[in-house]
C-alpha cells in the first residue's frame, strides 16, 4: 500500500496504479498479457488517456474531451460511480459482483465503454483486452485513495 493518499482522479493516482500493474507478473498472466490499445477514462468531466503497449501501461495523460477522439474506446461514468467501483476493489482486492468493468458496461443503458468514432472494431478492444483492463483497475487496491 502506498504511504501517501493519492487523489482520484489524478495523473498521480493513475501513475501509481500503472507502477503496480506494470511490475507485478500476476497481472500479465491468466488471460492477460500483450495489450495494444489507447483507452480513455472519463470521470465526470475529467478525461485521462491511458496507452497500453505490450505488457505495460506505458503512459497516462490528462487531456481534454477532444483527446477521446483518438482513443480506441473510453470508459465513462460519474465520479460517484467510479468511487463505488474503486471502493469495491479496495475492499476485496479485486472487483467482485456488479463492479467488474464488463458487468458495469452491461448494466448501464448506454454501456460503460463507448467511442467518439463509433467504429465497432476499435470498440471491441474493450472486450478483447477486458482482463488486462480489469487487472489494471484491480491494481488500485494497493493504492491508498482519497476521493474528491
Amino acid at each position: 500500500m502506498s504511504r501517501a493518499k493519492l487523489s482520484f482522479p489524478s495523473v498521480e493516482w493513475f501513475n501509481a496504479v500503472r507502477k503496480e500493474f506494470n511490475t507485478d507478473e500476476e497481472f500479465h498472466r491468466r488471460g492477460a498479457g500483450h495489450c495494444n490499445c489507447v483507452a480513455g477514462v472519463k470521470v465526470g468531466d475529467d478525461v485521462f488517456v491511458l496507452t497500453f503497449e505490450g505488457q505495460e501501461c506505458t503512459s497516462v495523460e490528462q487531456s481534454g474531451e477532444l483527446a477521446l477522439a483518438d482513443a480506441d474506446f473510453y470508459m465513462s461514468m460519474d465520479a460517484v460511480d467510479w468511487q463505488e467501483m474503486l471502493a469495491n476493489i479496495s475492499k476485496h482486492g479485486h472487483a467482485v459482483g456488479d463492479y467488474t468493468l464488463n458487468t458495469l458496461d452491461l448494466n448501464r443503458f448506454d454501456g460503460l465503454a463507448t467511442s467518439v468514432h463509433g467504429d465497432q472494431f476499435r470498440e471491441d478492444m474493450f472486450f478483447r483486452f477486458n482482463q488486462t483492463l480489469q487487472f489494471f483497475f484491480d491494481a488500485s487496491s494497493r493504492i491508498d485513495t482519497r476521493f474528491g
Binding site: R29, R30, G31, A32, G33, H34, N36, E53, G54, E56, T58, V96, T100, N102, T103, D105, L106, N107, G118, D119, Q120, F121, R122, E123, D124, M125, F127, R128, F129, N130, Q131, Q134
Partner: protein, 356 residues
C-alpha cells in the same frame, strides 16, 4: 595403438546446402512486444505474393527445390482470399493471452445452486460446447487449404482452433462441476451454424463464422457476467469473450481487406450477410433468439430463477437489441455499411421485432 584419422579428412561432405540461396544478413530485432511475427516481416521475408504458386509447403523466403513433389492441395492461393492487415498482431495477441480452464478459473467458488438455475446453466453449457465444436472444426479445415505463403493468417486460424478447444472443454467442465450434467443437444448446429461448414470459399466462411456467428456468441459470452452466480462463471465468460472478440476482429479485418483488394466480390459478400441476418441473427440458431432451450435458459439465468422469468426476459430482449446493434456496427466497420442505407438489410425491422 591404432592410428586415429584426423577428423573430417576421409569424409566426403556435401556442403552445397550452405550456399546462401535466400536473403542473408537479416537481423530482426525485438520491440516492446518481444520478437513478433511483425518484426520478422523484413526484406524479402516480408514480401507476401498476391498469388501463390507455392505447392510444395516451402517456407516463404526459403530457396525453392525444383524437383519437389506437390505437397499440399492448396485452394486458397490468392492473397485477398484470406489476408488481413493485422494477422501477425492477432496471432501474437492470441498466444500471449492464453489461459487454462484447469487452473485459471476459480472452480472452488462454485456452490450448489437452485435446481432451475443449475439446469439453465447446464443447458447453456451444453449448447456452447456444441457450437464450439463447429467453431473449432471449420477454421481447422481451412488451415490445410491455405498456401504456406500466407502463413500468418494460417497461424491465426490455428490459434483460434486452440481457443475453441478450450471453450469446448471449459463449458463441459462447468456442466459437470456442480451436481448437474450435460443436457439436451440443441440441434442448432444442424441449421445455419452447421451450414458454415459448407462454405466453398474462405471469405464466405469467415463472414458466416467470424462476423455473424462469433459476433452473436461474443454478446452471449459478455452477458455471461450478468448470468454468472459465482466468480468461476464470471471468469469463464469474461475470458471466453476476450478470445471471441479476437476471432471477430479477424473477420472484420479480413472483410475490410477483401473489400479494398477484390471489390468485384462485394455484392457476393452482401449475399452472405443477407443469409446471416435472416438465418442466424433472428432465428432458432441464435441462442438469444427464438430457440426455446437457450432463450428460456438465458431468461431464467438473467432473472434469477424460473419465478423471475419475465424479469429475465426483459433483460434478454435488451441484450438481443445490443447484439444486433453491435453486429450492424461491425459490418459498417468492415466496409459494408451501405446495406443499412439502401434498404438491402432488414436489420432495423428485425431490431424493432426483437424489441417487441
Amino acid at each position: 595403438m591404432a592410428e586415429v584419422a584426423p577428423q573430417n579428412q576421409n569424409v566426403d561432405m556435401d556442403l552445397e546446402w550452405m550456399d546462401k540461396t535466400g536473403s542473408w544478413d537479416t537481423n530482426a530485432e525485438p520491440g516492446r512486444n518481444g520478437l513478433t511475427l511483425a518484426d520478422i516481416q523484413i526484406g524479402d521475408y516480408g514480401e507476401i505474393p498476391d498469388y501463390s504458386r507455392n505447392l510444395s509447403g516451402r517456407p516463404r523466403g526459403s530457396a525453392p527445390r525444383p524437383d519437389s513433389m506437390r505437397l499440399g492441395n492448396y485452394t486458397v492461393r490468392e492473397k485477398s482470399e484470406i489476408w488481413m492487415d493485422n494477422a501477425s498482431f492477432l496471432y501474437e495477441e492470441a498466444l500471449q493471452r492464453q489461459w487454462s480452464s484447469a487452473t485459471d478459473v476459480p472452480w472452488e467458488t462454485i456452490e450448489p445452486l437452485p435446481d432451475d438455475v443449475e439446469q439453465a446453466q447446464c443447458q447453456m453449457a451444453t449448447f456452447l460446447t456444441e457450437v464450439e465444436f463447429v467453431a473449432g472444426d471449420v477454421p481447422s479445415r481451412w488451415v490445410a487449404k491455405t498456401s504456406p505463403d500466407f502463413f500468418e493468417a494460417r497461424q491465426v486460424l490455428l490459434a483460434q482452433v486452440n481457443d475453441e478447444s478450450r471453450h469446448m472443454d471449459v463449458f463441459r467442465k462447468r456442466a459437470l462441476a456442480n451436481g448437474g450434467g450435460l443436457m439436451r443437444s440443441t440441434g442448432s448446429t444442424a441449421g445455419f451454424v452447421g451450414g458454415i461448414d459448407l462454405s466453398r470459399d474462405f471469405t464466405e466462411m469467415s463472414s458466416r463464422l467470424h462476423i455473424s456467428g462469433e459476433g452473436a456468441v461474443l454478446t452471449i459470452f459478455r452477458m455471461g457476467e450478468l448470468m454468472a452466480y459465482n466468480d468461476a462463471e464470471k471468469t469463464i465468460y469474461r475470458l471466453c469473450a476476450q478470445d471471441e472478440a479476437r476471432h471477430v476482429a479477424f473477420g472484420v479485418m479480413h472483410m475490410r481487406y477483401m473489400s479494398e483488394h477484390a471489390p468485384e466480390r462485394r455484392d457476393e459478400i452482401h449475399s452472405y450477410l443477407d443469409e446471416a441476418e435472416g438465418g442466424l441473427l433472428t432465428s432458432a440458431a441464435n441462442p438469444a433468439g427464438t430457440l426455446n432451450q437457450t432463450s428460456e435458459s438465458l431468461a431464467i439465468l438473467l432473472g434469477g430463477g424460473i419465478k423471475k422469468f419475465d424479469e429475465g426476459w426483459r433483460k434478454l430482449v435488451a441484450i438481443r437489441r445490443r447484439q444486433l446493434m453491435e453486429y450492424k456496427k461491425r459490418v459498417i466497420s468492415a466496409g459494408f455499411g451501405e446495406r443499412f442505407e439502401n434498404g438491402r438489410s432488414r436489420l432495423t425491422e428485425i431490431m424493432e421485432q426483437a424489441a417487441a
